[in-house]
Symmetry: C2
Subunit: 222 residues, 2 copies
Amino acid sequence: MFEILKASPLFIGLRAEEINFLINNSSHQIKQFSNKEVLAYAGERVEKAMIVLDGKLQGEMVDFAGNSLKIEEIEPPQMVAAAFLYGPQSVFPVNLSAISDGKMLIIFKNDFTKLLSADQRVLNNYLNIVSGKAQFLSRKITFLSFKTIKEKIAYYLLQNLKTGNQIIAMNQSQKGLAEMLGVARPSLARTISEMEADQLIKWERNHVDIVDLKSLRATLGR
Amino acid sequence: MFEILKASPLFIGLRAEEINFLINNSSHQIKQFSNKEVLAYAGERVEKAMIVLDGKLQGEMVDFAGNSLKIEEIEPPQMVAAAFLYGPQSVFPVNLSAISDGKMLIIFKNDFTKLLSADQRVLNNYLNIVSGKAQFLSRKITFLSFKTIKEKIAYYLLQNLKTGNQIIAMNQSQKGLAEMLGVARPSLARTISEMEADQLIKWERNHVDIVDLKSLRATLGR
DNA sequence: GCAAAAGTGTAACATGTGTGACACTCTTAT
DNA sequence: ATAAGAGTGTCACACATGTTACACTTTTGC
């Protein structure tokens, strides 16, 4: 087990013996789960830290009509719902169910808090995990908050533009990009055409030429 | 100072003497700042925990064209960039500048980490702050990912509907709600009218009646 | 090399949302 | 009590985007 945990973001930088020592000094459980088992429902309180040791879980968002929506997979040795253990509304944002047999390490919140203060490296790691989530979400919002497709494209290009360069390698199809930006594929193609007509960019199969950097930047100036 | 800090989310549940003790046992500084002073630029590394003691700061997002965009105000005794102290990309997401004279408490990251492990209540508080941010952002994304205003309204209402009830108290103006949902105010009003015409809801000044819960849910079934 | 699959350019059309405007109502402060 | 301010209902209009469709090109697998 401790070999698996060594690879976990929570225990980066610790030796297996150290992890062993820490875990064995906090009360914990190993829970077996079987395929299709529902481990937690959305809205339920998060009261324990969970780390997948073996097998695979998935988080499925369930809408009010009862359909399941997005899916996020959690594999060993990831933590489950790391950013939802603490906080004013510490409830599961999704249904948590197993998509294979497996087992997980469970530490109750109180004990987990003690564990965090027992080792500064673990504390640091956990803070990195949670902060990382917040930062990821923050960046995602930046994207979503651009209204027009033109803005999204401009932002995407400028993000991926290395200074001094004026060519951006594209390792993604327009279809994929459209999905990532959350827009319809033909709409993306249309907007690209417009931007080419406006002499802002030149979109080739595998790379994009920035023709008029200044105007491209101005696209984002509201 | 310790009286101010007592009200800070970071030190909830601690007595002034305890805060005094903790702070004086970690190395720290008090920094005076003056109006219009820029305290940090977006992209700069976050290396210290900062708590505003007096005066007011603002975070301004700067776009690629050099214009400043959104503004977030930070007042005593709030922490600055709490979710950005740790994490893989711990850099300021915004420019940080003063909009009045004032002063702040500064604790360098290393010392702050020690402070967190020195007192479990402070650790818990900080985890609550950061997790709270992540949860707030997560909810915001859920909202932004609904495409139509009708969906957003339905989601909002169903979220705030207590089981068994069919009336939702509104503690927010339509204007405020429109802002929160990221839509134009008249568009929100129009959509509400439509939903009323469809006999889904009845929107009064201070509360909303759910007329047809089933159909309201169906709005979200994609 | 060839066929199938995937990706791309483009068009016509429907539709949801933002904008700006205005009258009206409710709340707040003096 | 009254005036000023904030919030609300509604309209006409412009416009960006999604949808659906089809021809064409490129890539992939055999």
